[in-house]
Amino acid sequence: MPKSGSTSKITRRTALAGLSAGAALLAMPRIGRAADETVRIGFPTPLTGPFAAEARDQVKCAELAVKLVNDKGGIGGRKVELLVRDDKLNAGEAATRTLELIEKDKVHAVVGALSSAVQLAVNEVTRARGVIYVSISQSDTINEAKDFSKYTFHEALNPHMTTAAVARQTLKKGMKVAHLVADYAYGHEMLRGFKRAQATIGADTVGEILHPFGAADYSTFMPRLMSLRPDVLCISNFGRDQANAIKQAVDFGVKQQMKIVVPVILHNQRLAVGPDVFEGVVGGSNYFWGLETQSKSAASFNTAFKAANGGAIPTDYGAYGYSGVGSLLAAMQAAGGTETDKVVDALEKLQYDITKGPQHYRKCDHQSVQSVLVLESKKKSAMANDNDLFAILANDAGSDELLRSCSELGHAT
């Protein structure tokens, strides 16, 4: 459409102007900031577009993390301020907004981004300017040596961790597995993870179908998937693609023949298509509020969130906003301020437990080592209340074992 074309042109021009201004600023010596100045955290997230619901949850949770620190007197007496920006799920927009946050608003660090392309764009800008960036996108390309910098941190789970945990829970030796995969980075990363896990377990792939990103109809893939007669169908896609693909698979009677498994089971998509469709679907997750019976941190996170949001519960993506900002602020507290190098050091040494159990950032690639939940969507009649969506099948404790090794990612060991 003509409209989007002209918008992106303006964005590109603004970005160029910003880039040159940025270069000029870098040449100047940094001016020391007053000690009583506020601590500013930039937070780009897709407030408009298909992931708006997830983005809003992220903002609510990030604001909660900031509020809790401010209630206790801030960072060394300095108040913390969260600067939320709409990245519109567009890499160019995200780069421009991040540049503004750094050059104009003088943020001390950036947390955020949801999609893999946006995460890469934000990381480009922050690493060129030496600003800390804590990513909460589920893709982990920025942890690989070519895109990594010492300022890059990754709080979210990565494809390798979730698929390994889900596969361990659902696959057995000799099982036949079919894959329905979204044809872009996210889907490919998940497929790679599943196949790796299958190789260890000894489960065979009987078919792989790549579908176009954002497809509304999956019916044309179903007869073929059924004819492959697999024991398990892994659907590796995100957002509404997940909801539509599962819904249509169920319409075709796929569940009577095989188990449906997803790398990441999404709270909001389960709400969007209802309990009957998702019943019995198994997937990985970073957080589910029901963890409160097993974890004190989850219980206190839920309580704080409910108090601040009129009794609502925090979602999976919301929890990323909380732990991303929370871990950064904890490191700033330990570093006694916002000086970038000291905060990086503090983040590397940080042991934190704010939503679900112990977490820490691995030294080589700054990936947060953390537990992975494996959830199963509940039958409608088994739900105790409207929020009782999932049963927790497993809570795999975080360990380096779940991650790709440092050398595999291209880091010197």
């Binding site: 497809a215 019916s219 539509n244 319409d251 075709f252 009677g253 969007a272």
Partner: protein, 291 residues
């Protein structure tokens, strides 16, 4: 690759094509008779799905939603024609295009404000849940119902246009509105009804698609693109063209999905490009009225 798989695949293609036909039909009728390119068609499809869902939950039955939503949204379509589109007749084709383009933004944003930007579940009517054993494989009952319903709607539409007095006036109005006025026909009322019909068909497409997809404010944007592709292939303004092209696109997507799944979306644009190269006016289009 056995024959039963290919037949199943054809059947999913026809089901897919059926929804395309209904949506493209509304677009092509409005263009053919009124010369208006309705960019809000996708948004009205989405509004139709929401209205169907709302009316179904209000009355407790999917069938009321299916019946009332197209009527209600068709009436809203008539209001849009009466208040907005009417002023732009006789002006350049860009004016109603821009107007409806803006309208689509307002509609999508309005739904976001009222129903939220998350999707809402649209349950399949209980009578049509599950699959039917066709002997060669299982096929969802609901999709078979969609194929049958679309066939009935097409038949009724064809009979009305070809065999009734109203149909005669409509067809004549599309040929030469001035003569019609001279003959004492209130052409304004015909246009009002045609626009309402076009919008009603969009809404019907939305209600039918609801139980097959998740219902969300953005569900119309992809549908609009697909409907345009179908109308261009079939020939702008041609009803037969919309039906043939809709089924052709559905079946091509489905068969390509069997052999090269990642190409499934691109195939319809490929088909459009080929048709435009060979017959710029579309398969059943009138010469001189090119896309």
């Amino acid at each position: 690759m056995d024959l039963s798989l290919i037949i199943m695949q054809l059947l999913s293609g026809i089901a897919l094509g059926a929804v395309l036909v209904i949506t493209a039909l509304g677009l092509t009728i409005v263009f053919g008779m009124l010369g208006v390119v309705n960019f809000a068609h996708g948004a009205l499809f989405m509004i139709g799905a929401y209205a169907g869902l709302y009316l179904a939950s209000l009355t407790g039955s999917f069938w009321w939603g299916l019946l009332l939503a197209p009527v209600l949204i068709g009436a809203i379509g008539m209001l849009i024609e009466f208040v907005l589109i009417r002023r732009l007749y006789g002006r350049s084709i860009d004016d109603p295009l821009l107007l409806t383009f803006g309208l689509s933004y307002i509609l999508v944003e309005g739904v976001r404000i009222v129903f939220g930007s998350d999707g809402i579940p649209f349950p399949t009517p209980p009578q049509l849940v599950g699959v039917l054993d066709l002997g060669i494989g299982f096929f969802p009952r609901y999709r078979l119902f969609v194929i049958a319903l679309v066939a009935v709607v097409l038949l009724v539409l064809w009979l009305t246009l070809e065999k009734t007095r109203v149909g005669l006036i409509v067809r004549a109005g599309a040929r030469d509105p001035t003569i019609m006025q001279v003959l004492g026909v209130d052409i304004g009322r015909v246009w009002l009804a045609i626009f309402g019909l076009g919008v009603g068909l969009a809404a019907l497409g939305g209600v039918l698609a609801g139980p097959m997809r998740s219902v969300n404010p953005e569900m119309g944007s992809l549908v609009l693109a697909e409907a345009f592709v179908v109308t261009v292939i079939g020939g702008l303004g041609s009803i037969v063209g919309a039906v043939v092209a809709g089924l052709m696109v559905g079946i091509s997507i489905s068969l390509v999905a069997l052999f090269a799944p990642e190409m499934a979306t691109i195939v319809m644009f490929g088909l459009m490009a080929v048709v435009l190269l060979i017959r710029p006016e579309g398969l059943f289009g009138v010469k001189g009225r090119t896309a």
